[in-house]
Amino acid sequence: MNSDCENMKDQIADLLTGNLSESQMRKLEQHLNECAACRDYASALKNEDMLLTEFFAGMDLNTASRQERLLQVIAPSCMSRQTYALSIRRTIMKSPITKIAVAAVIIIAVTLSIQLWNKSTSAAYAFEQTVEAMQGKRSFHIQTYFQQRRKDEFWAEFDEEGKLVRFRQEEGEGPKRILLTTWEDGVKSQYYPPPWGVKLMTRVDNSGGGLENLEGFDPETIVQEVHELVSEGKAVMEIQAPPRYARLMTIHVKRIDGKPLRQVLVVNPDTKLVVRVDDYWDTEDEEKVFHHGIEVLEYNETIDPRLFDPNLPEDTLIMDQVTQEVGMAQGDMSNEEVAVKIIREALDAWAKGDFAKAGKLCGGAPRRMLAEAYSHVRPVRIISIGEPEKIDFGTPRFWVPCQYEIKRDGQLEITNQKLVALTVNGCPGRWYVSIWHTR
């Protein structure tokens, strides 16, 4: 450990929390290549980071049920009397302040619920109006949630017939974006920020619903599904009439076909558009409820075109699977056979330093990227390649367990990894090795 190391410790902690500039990151990477003590420190912090993430995610599993208990206290008209009494009792047991607060809430809530009971569902509104309004949307910008935690952000534009023209997805939490995806004219571009700094371009035709990322979150699709389920008698819907001056109204949907799903849709009564959807999946453990949600931040606003064609850093490496032929043809081989063969050939090419061939087999990875990333490490011999394990996904893909000996900075070591072999999007019968999914 040298004098730089103390400064580097700060940067290692910053790296894990995503608070490091690109130039600092490069300097740190260089230092880590040279300093074993800091590599160990970084590895320890990375492990702790995973532990912390898992630890808080474990606590988070109960957030939805905690929140629901609170909502039940606030909205007694939405639940059975028995559950209401239980959740109130738990609160009242705690402190005198809460006793007063809850007593007051009960009075307000009961008064309000009596008002609600006395109103019939707004005659001016039917869910079909929302189905129709959603069909007229030309663009949206939404935020998705998992366990009440912000996840991805989507922007999408549609033509007059409601067909998707382009979309953008920012995946990940807060500023720690792990992936930026855009799609237009049948080409999907995925940008992996540094340390990868790579843009992967693939051909994805959406005519058959190929953009699976978007579909689960499209509010129009959600509304149509709800409408169909209710029409088919698989779900029941309760529309809560808004009070006189309400700006929003809620629709509770409960599945009655055995699926443990409850949904809450928030609708703007003026536009009839859905502005928020929360899905709650009950589990066998009453304390645990899984939550997925979307919040529509904007409808039908003009979206800055630069969002769909972002300026990427100049040194971004392009993996182009659209204009160049990549991977290997399957020919007469079975899926399992081609998965093993392409991984063997990719490892062989890497061992020989043939980065052009390795890059082609690895889905169009530029030669320069592989040469730089693997300058200090190279396979010496393949010890074994195991039986491929099928990955449950739309298109064929396999984990392939591999054991091989590598030389890292002059030292020999044995490594075990599961590499992924999968088909090239839009090129039936061609396979490549993903260098993103290695584990």
Binding site: T17, A44, T53, G58, T63, L70, G174, Q240, P243, A246
Partner: protein, 174 residues
């Protein structure tokens, strides 16, 4: 957070629209809970205080003048309740009242990690908890804690380094 949406929801609440407050709960509960968890270091206490804060919010919302500032307002209520709770806990300990035995935490088997987090000073534990529990976004934490972005980053960094020391100490002693 979309402050405009908050503003219209608060205005709706002030006009007796109960539904609007349920949407505010859906939007802000987890942040309030994360703040309480960071301050109190205990899931059950955090749940009780977060619930109490949201209920107080409902009772007092008519008095909220700056409707767009709901987030900072509800977090301030939660912070004050946490301070009261900690004071009360300290007082109870000081006069020697027998505390009921704490039930085991519902966070799985990470006892060492949990102990280490609890040993962090509060000014580090709060941002660390909010960071990992609430979306890993230092900018948002800075806004919620009313500190600068660089200040939030510095606290998270220091918390991570101190936590590493605490965890390593523990391992070395075993």
């Amino acid at each position: 957070m979309n402050a405009h949406l908050d503003e219209s929801l608060v205005r709706a609440c002030q006009r007796n629209d109960k539904t609007a407050y349920t949407v505010l709960v859906q939007r802000h509960y987890r942040h309030v809970f994360a703040m309480c968890l960071g301050m109190l270091g205990n899931v059950d206490d955090a749940e009780d205080v977060a619930q109490e804060a949201m209920l107080r919010g409902l009772l007092k919302i008519r008095k909220l003048d700056k409707a767009g500032h709901f987030e900072s307002w509800i977090l301030q209520i939660a912070r004050n309740l946490c301070i009261d709770f900690l004071r009360q806990r300290k007082r109870t300990k000081a006069i020697g009242i027998e505390q009921p035995k704490q039930p085991p935490q519902r966070s799985g088997g990470n006892h060492d990690l949990q102990q280490a987090i609890r040993r962090l000073p509060q000014e580090l534990r709060i941002p660390l908890t909010m960071f990992y529990f609430d979306g890993k976004n230092a900018k948002t934490i800075a806004r919620k804690l009313n500190i600068s972005h660089s200040g939030a980053c510095r606290r998270i960094r220091t918390a991570r380094k101190q936590l590493h020391v605490l965890l390593t100490e523990r391992t070395n002693h075993e």
